[in-house]
Symmetry: C2
Subunit: 311 residues, 2 copies
C-alpha cells in the first residue's frame, strides 16, 4: 500500500481538466457507480464519505473529507481530505493520498469543464465572488480552457481581494463591489454563504455562472430568481437537490428538480448545451467522488509515495 | 497522522468485549451517528464504506472493507479493511489502521456480548457452523464471557474442522454433522451461505443462535421457520433488513421487520431480553461501524504506529 503525502506536486492543469472531463463523460454515459455522499455531523463541522467506481479506468475508492469552518483560527485548513484507492480485482487498498489540494484542483477542473462548454465566448471578463483557495483553483483551471482578459473580484476582506489580484499580476485584476463583479461573461461563486449574495438584476443576459460554494444543505449564493431565468446544469442530480445551489430554493418551493436542464456529463457528451447566446447558464457544482478518483489516478503516476505494510 | 500496520497485536479480549458492549449501549441509547453502510459492487467482489461518530468517546471515522470470495486462490484474504479516524474537533484524519484482524475481533466481540446476555446458561455446549477466521474469533471472544465445556464443529472441509479443533485442544472439540452440531446451547453460524444450512427441527427449545455469516443481500444460513419460532435481535434494524439473516425471508415474504424483538443495544441496556428459558433467541449480526471505531480506539492505545506527513 502506497501513501502519497504530496500528490498534487507537479500536476499538469490541462491534463487534470482532461481527466475530469472524461470522468464526467463516463457519468453522462451512466457507466460509473457513485452513491450520494454520506454526511456525519460534528459540533463544529462535518465529514463526508464519497465512494465510487469508474470501470473504464479500473478504478475504485473513496474520498473522506471534512468541513470545519473554525479551523483557520487554529492554523488548520477548513477542508482536509484523504482518498483511499481500492483494487476492483482484489479489494485491497492500494493507495492512500493526501487529497486536500487534489480536492481544490478537481473542483477547479469541474468549473473549467463547465466554462469550456457553457461560456458565451472564448475571451472573457471573469467575475470572482470569494478569493480563497477554491477561487484560485477556478482561475487556474479556467485559464487552461479560455482566455481571461480581465478579472473582477469581490471578497468580504478587501485585503484578501487585493492579495488575490497580486497572484494574477499578468492580467488586469481589480477588487470591486459585488454588483460590478457580477457584470461579466463568466461569474464564479466560491463562498460558504447561507444567503443569496448575487441579485438577479445584476446578471446580464448570456452570462455563465459556476455556482461552486453551496455543497451542503442550507447553503446558497444566488438569488433564486437567477435559477428561474437560467438553464441550470448540475454535476449530479441527487447531490445537487440535497446540497447544491438549488437545495434551498427547492426547500422553499421556488425551484423544482424537474427544471434541471441536465448534467455536466450530458453537456460534455453534446447531449445538452447552451441553446442561445443570450441565455444565462448555471453550473451547480457539489463535487463528485468520480472527480476524486480521476485526479487520484493522475497523481499516483507521479511516483512520489512511501510504502506502508498491508495487509 | 499515524498509521497502525498491526494494531491487533496484544489486544486484550475481555477489554475488547467491554468496549464493544459499551458501543452497543450507546447505540441503544440513540447516542451515535451511523448511516447504513454503502456498497460498491465490482465484478469479483464489493467494498463497503462505514462512517460513524460516537460522541461519548469523542470518536469519528470510517471503515472501508472489501469482500472478494476468490481472493484465497491468489493468497489474499477474502476480507481486508482500513479504518480512518477523524477528529470531531478539527476533522483532521488522525489515524489509519490496518483493520483486517480488528474486523474479525469486533465481530467476535459482538457475538460474545449477545451470548453473555442471551445464552440460556453460563456453562455451554457450543455448536460452530463454519471453521474459518470468524469462527475462531467467536470462540475466543465467547470464551471470555461463558464457560465452554464442549465444542461441536461442522465445516464443508472435514480437514478444516479438525484443524479448528486442534486450536482448542484444551477443550472437548469434535467435528460432526450439521444436525449434531445444531444440538447445543449456543449455535454460531459463520458461513457465506446463500441457502439455509440449519433446519428448524434440529434446533431444540432454549437455544441461542448467533447468526453471523449473512452480511449482504441474498445471504442466509437458517431455515426461516427458526426465525418465526424465535425472538430475533439485530445489531441495527436498517442494516439487518437489507443484508442480515432476515433479509432473504423478508424478501420472500416469510418474515416481517415488525417482528424484530429489539436491538443488541437495547438488550445490553436491559430494555429487551430473553423472557423464558425455553424460547429460542437469535442475534442477527451485520457488523456496525461503531464496533470498528470502538475497537480502533483500544488498538490505538498500543502505540505501535508510524508517522505520516499530513496535511
Amino acid at each position: 500500500m502506497h501513501y502519497y503525502p504530496n500528490p498534487a506536486a507537479g500536476l499538469d492543469i490541462p491534463a487534470v481538466n482532461a481527466a475530469i472531463e472524461e470522468a464526467f463523460a463516463e457519468h453522462g454515459r451512466g457507466k460509473v457507480q457513485m452513491p450520494p455522499k454520506v454526511y456525519i455531523t460534528f459540533d463544529h463541522g462535518d465529514f463526508r464519505t464519497m465512494p465510487a467506481y469508474i470501470p473504464s479506468l479500473d478504478l475504485g475508492g473513496v474520498k473522506i473529507v471534512n468541513v470545519h469552518p473554525g479551523n483557520p483560527a487554529s492554523g488548520l485548513p477548513t477542508v482536509m481530505a484523504l482518498t483511499v484507492i481500492i483494487s476492483p480485482e482484489t479489494g485491497i487498498p492500494e493507495a492512500i493520498l493526501n487529497a486536500t489540494v487534489l480536492t481544490d484542483l478537481r473542483t477547479g477542473a469541474a468549473g473549467a469543464v463547465a466554462a469550456k462548454y457553457l461560456s458565451p465566448r472564448r475571451t472573457i471578463t471573469l467575475g470572482m465572488v470569494g478569493s480563497g483557495r477554491q477561487a484560485q483553483a477556478q482561475v487556474d483551471a479556467i485559464s487552461a480552457e479560455l482566455s481571461i482578459d480581465r478579472i473582477r473580484v469581490w471578497s468580504r476582506s478587501e485585503k484578501n481581494a487585493r492579495a488575490f489580484c497580486e497572484r494574477y499580476a499578468d492580467r488586469e485584476c481589480a477588487s470591486m463591489s459585488l454588483e460590478r463583479v457580477a457584470d461579466c461573461d463568466l461569474l464564479v461563486t466560491t463562498t460558504p454563504s447561507r444567503e443569496p449574495l448575487i441579485r438577479n438584476e445584476w446578471i446580464r443576459d448570456g452570462t455563465h455562472i459556476n455556482a461552486i460554494g453551496a455543497d451542503a444543505a442550507g447553503k446558497q449564493e444566488l438569488d433564486p430568481a437567477i435559477l428561474s431565468r437560467a438553464r441550470v446544469f448540475v454535476d449530479d442530480p441527487a447531490q445537487a437537490v440535497h446540497s447544491g445551489e438549488i437545495n434551498v430554493p427547492i426547500r422553499d418551493g421556488v425551484y423544482s428538480p424537474d427544471r434541471i436542464a441536465g448534467t455536466l456529463g450530458e453537456v460534455v457528451l453534446g447531449r445538452k448545451k447552451r441553446t442561445t447566446a443570450d441565455e444565462i447558464t448555471v453550473f451547480d457544482s457539489t463535487g463528485l467522488a468520480i472527480q476524486d478518483l480521476a485526479i487520484a489516478e493522475i497523481a499516483m503516476k507521479s511516483g512520489n509515495f512511501i510504502n506502508l505494510r498491508f495487509p
